[in-house]
Symmetry: C3
Subunit: 399 residues, 3 copies
Amino acid sequence: MVCTALVFFMHLGFSFLEIGLTRQKNTVNILFKNVFIITVGLLLYYIGGFNLMYPGFEDGDMGFLKFPGFGIGAPENGMTPEYADGGYTWWTDFLFQGMFAATAATIVSGAVAERIKLGGFMIFTIFYVGLVYPIVGAWKWGGGWLHGLGFYDFAGSTLVHSVGGWGALIAIYLLGARIGKYGEDGKPKAIPGHNLPLAAAGVLILWLGWFGFNGGSVLSADPAVTSLVLVTTCLAAAAGGVSAFVTSFVRYKNFDLTMFLNGILGGLVGITAGADQMSPNEAVIIGLIAGVIIVFGVALIDRLKLDDPVGAVAVHLICGIWGTLAVGIFGAMAGLDQFLVQLAGVGATATFCSITGFIILFTIKKIAGLRVSEQEELEGLDLHEHGMDAYADFRMNQH
Amino acid sequence: MVCTALVFFMHLGFSFLEIGLTRQKNTVNILFKNVFIITVGLLLYYIGGFNLMYPGFEDGDMGFLKFPGFGIGAPENGMTPEYADGGYTWWTDFLFQGMFAATAATIVSGAVAERIKLGGFMIFTIFYVGLVYPIVGAWKWGGGWLHGLGFYDFAGSTLVHSVGGWGALIAIYLLGARIGKYGEDGKPKAIPGHNLPLAAAGVLILWLGWFGFNGGSVLSADPAVTSLVLVTTCLAAAAGGVSAFVTSFVRYKNFDLTMFLNGILGGLVGITAGADQMSPNEAVIIGLIAGVIIVFGVALIDRLKLDDPVGAVAVHLICGIWGTLAVGIFGAMAGLDQFLVQLAGVGATATFCSITGFIILFTIKKIAGLRVSEQEELEGLDLHEHGMDAYADFRMNQH
Amino acid sequence: MVCTALVFFMHLGFSFLEIGLTRQKNTVNILFKNVFIITVGLLLYYIGGFNLMYPGFEDGDMGFLKFPGFGIGAPENGMTPEYADGGYTWWTDFLFQGMFAATAATIVSGAVAERIKLGGFMIFTIFYVGLVYPIVGAWKWGGGWLHGLGFYDFAGSTLVHSVGGWGALIAIYLLGARIGKYGEDGKPKAIPGHNLPLAAAGVLILWLGWFGFNGGSVLSADPAVTSLVLVTTCLAAAAGGVSAFVTSFVRYKNFDLTMFLNGILGGLVGITAGADQMSPNEAVIIGLIAGVIIVFGVALIDRLKLDDPVGAVAVHLICGIWGTLAVGIFGAMAGLDQFLVQLAGVGATATFCSITGFIILFTIKKIAGLRVSEQEELEGLDLHEHGMDAYADFRMNQH
């Protein structure tokens, strides 16, 4: 239950990070989006998502999709008994998983910031959190076909972070870059965030939340396993941050706070799939590699003219893939067979999420439009969609 | 004990919310008030409040007021044994309740922001937290006459939120509106808050704190009941937010972040009286109604020329009453008899808190004055009472 | 494990406090330093610090220094079994202690803010967190000679706060004051902090963290002792704040938020050595005295031309000494013998930390220089070391 509270608190971390790395003129919009995701995400998960995700597949039937009905799952709805183990009640489990579910949309929110229409994003959230996320989740955590194959994803490098990451990638491809992100020469220009203290606070809050995210995923609260998981989680985070900052220092010759912060997140995402399978040394290695991936990943996304204001694709998608594959490379389960199974899980998620994400977003784009007008983008979404200013008393440099 | 930490943390939430929704020129003053409330509130509760609240009424004596002496309550001071159940120690209980006690004054703090004299507010806090709050609390939680009647208030929709709300209502009536809040035509004008990210963070922190507030009120830490309570709490919060945002969108045609946030708080206050008595569906309904109440309640307070910068009366008083009555309408205890008992509790609290609050505030007003000078109000309380600027390096638009 | 999460979260509190009390032009630098401390501190503690601190001294051998090898301590590395009691696992203990270790450097960070070279500070951190802190810690918590003498330090008034405080004192002596801190007449001038809401939030987060810091130091999680510890901790914090604000009001005739906040921290540091030995009344007295110490301590440091932007020396060093000595004056262990032993501990820490701190810092100063150039200090470290602006969209008054 404490872990559920910590995972809930991650939503403040995501909000702070996203606000901090974007411009003040879109701050109210970002806060609104994030509060929408938490509240609506939880209600959707209550109405149907939880049952879609834990549908009670028969043992070994390699299930793909099943929906036992509306309302919170209960034994008579076909929940498998393994989720009732360890003194957990259905209610706690629902709440913990519901907090996870909203995370998938939050990841997308950061990538599409500063130019997506609020209404379009809301509709996307409803379908992605309400349908796509729980269907993929059911494949493994609901006892479906990926579970049957032996796929391993401790706390969601694939099932949470990659699912969000694929949505983010598709969305920024369909949306296009923010005005001013690419110069006339086609080169990416930095659009600086307006509140780095909040961005740093966001990352520390997210790290704190990961204590709950990974710690709580040890469903039985076995103290030895939980302790190990917290150690591997923290060491990977620390290693990811240090490695990203050093890599970025070597490459760009300055002390880049944003890279440091994203490196920490990369390490956290990277360890999430195998947090209970790694020794502390292996966790450090996974984190170090994640930090390097972040620096090159961010540069790659930039060069592909995919405009991702907060680095969500590098952090959640690329490091999510890395963490999932790492289960086949390091730790207690390492082996070629496991690696191939992990690869299959990555591929299946990639296929399903890109296709469904594309369908949802492309439909919205055609029917209602995804992107705000040029004038609204330049003047800020806060003014146009909310009629509010996030910092009414402060004088601003508009840009 | 974790819950105590979370309830303590709510004070940061209240501070952020109050700062965020007011102007920068009064920020230091608000922080000072809030830090004063926490520290002095805790000391007062230690000196006498705890014993006043848990005075050890004899079973069935329908007690109204009793004070067994100074110092933290202990069995020899007449504490009833029921509060020692469930592995809780007196110390934990004291601390948990002490964190609650300060909340009553914090609610008032938000409503009177930007114009009350610091000294006057301090004196009010001492009497309201030190005497009024524990006396009302003793009626139910101390085993007094409301408890004897069968009144139910799980975690304080009435005993905490309405007590604070009545104080807030009396205080803003006696204080009058801020300069500029009502135009020459008598119509209310919005005075925008200066830091909406902090306001949103405040609400998320408060929601987190409610995990402790409601979760901790299951004194025995029974996992099944605690889980249910957290689910009903979170669903009511989510439903309150969504319903307030939709209602406000329908009425005013914009996406109002402040209404969304206050709707979440309204849902939380509304579920607090019956969090352990409601099914998840009933929690959603209570939250949905609370969200609607917020939108109309804020408009009503505004039209009555009661200037409440943060919406404290709508959130804590009106939704507190709603939540208390809802115990008689929904859930395991619903019934006409229970509804009438709930109504009696609401009425008794209204009577006692308005009268005592009025006496305290009116006395302060006559002797020392409640309101700062016009010049101080226009130039900001930070400059006059603290000689400090909350954001010394930033350039401001004064208004 | 929850306590570990709370102690981790203290690093956000330290960051917010340090940012809030300094100027915006150095904000990115401060965030970078703090994120560096957490990540590198944890890795260093993993590589060697933990084993250096818990080296498995033989019972009664009055050990001073021993290093059983690299990697997290385990029985075969010579860990004494007493640390495995109470259901704790090595992993949890490592993480909890690792979060403490980084605190020592964080304390220094605040004192040296706005003028230290980032590279120099990094090297200092590596030696101070990696070597000095665990060696002193081993004297008591590792079962070394101070433990043999009967020295008592429940959760680190000396072993954490004074160790950090001595480092801070030596560092600001070697660094010199910030440009503009002392006028031509030699009198100190206030350099106002740029974000007091973050400073206040920092203190409340630190207070929250102390729930974990002191609560978690009851290693066995005995509910009665833990409860008492939380009560003494909170009462001392409240008393420290109130006493500092009243003292400062009497002396300077204004309501000084910064003093209030530092008084709370002083009370917390003061109770830390004896949190489990004091009655609530004694905790209040210790806090009240700590609050007075803060007001006069800050003034004293200022008059000695030691420029400490956040008051770290008064809070962590002076109140740390006060708290350590208080164990000999108040509570269950009070007595002249104990007082003298406490004094010996204070003296030994003073000697060892000043000498080692001086050697490390003086060496860095001679080889690479400790202080940034005058131009860099005036224009801000953010621009020169990071090429970033913490608040890119806001208009600033540079000073």
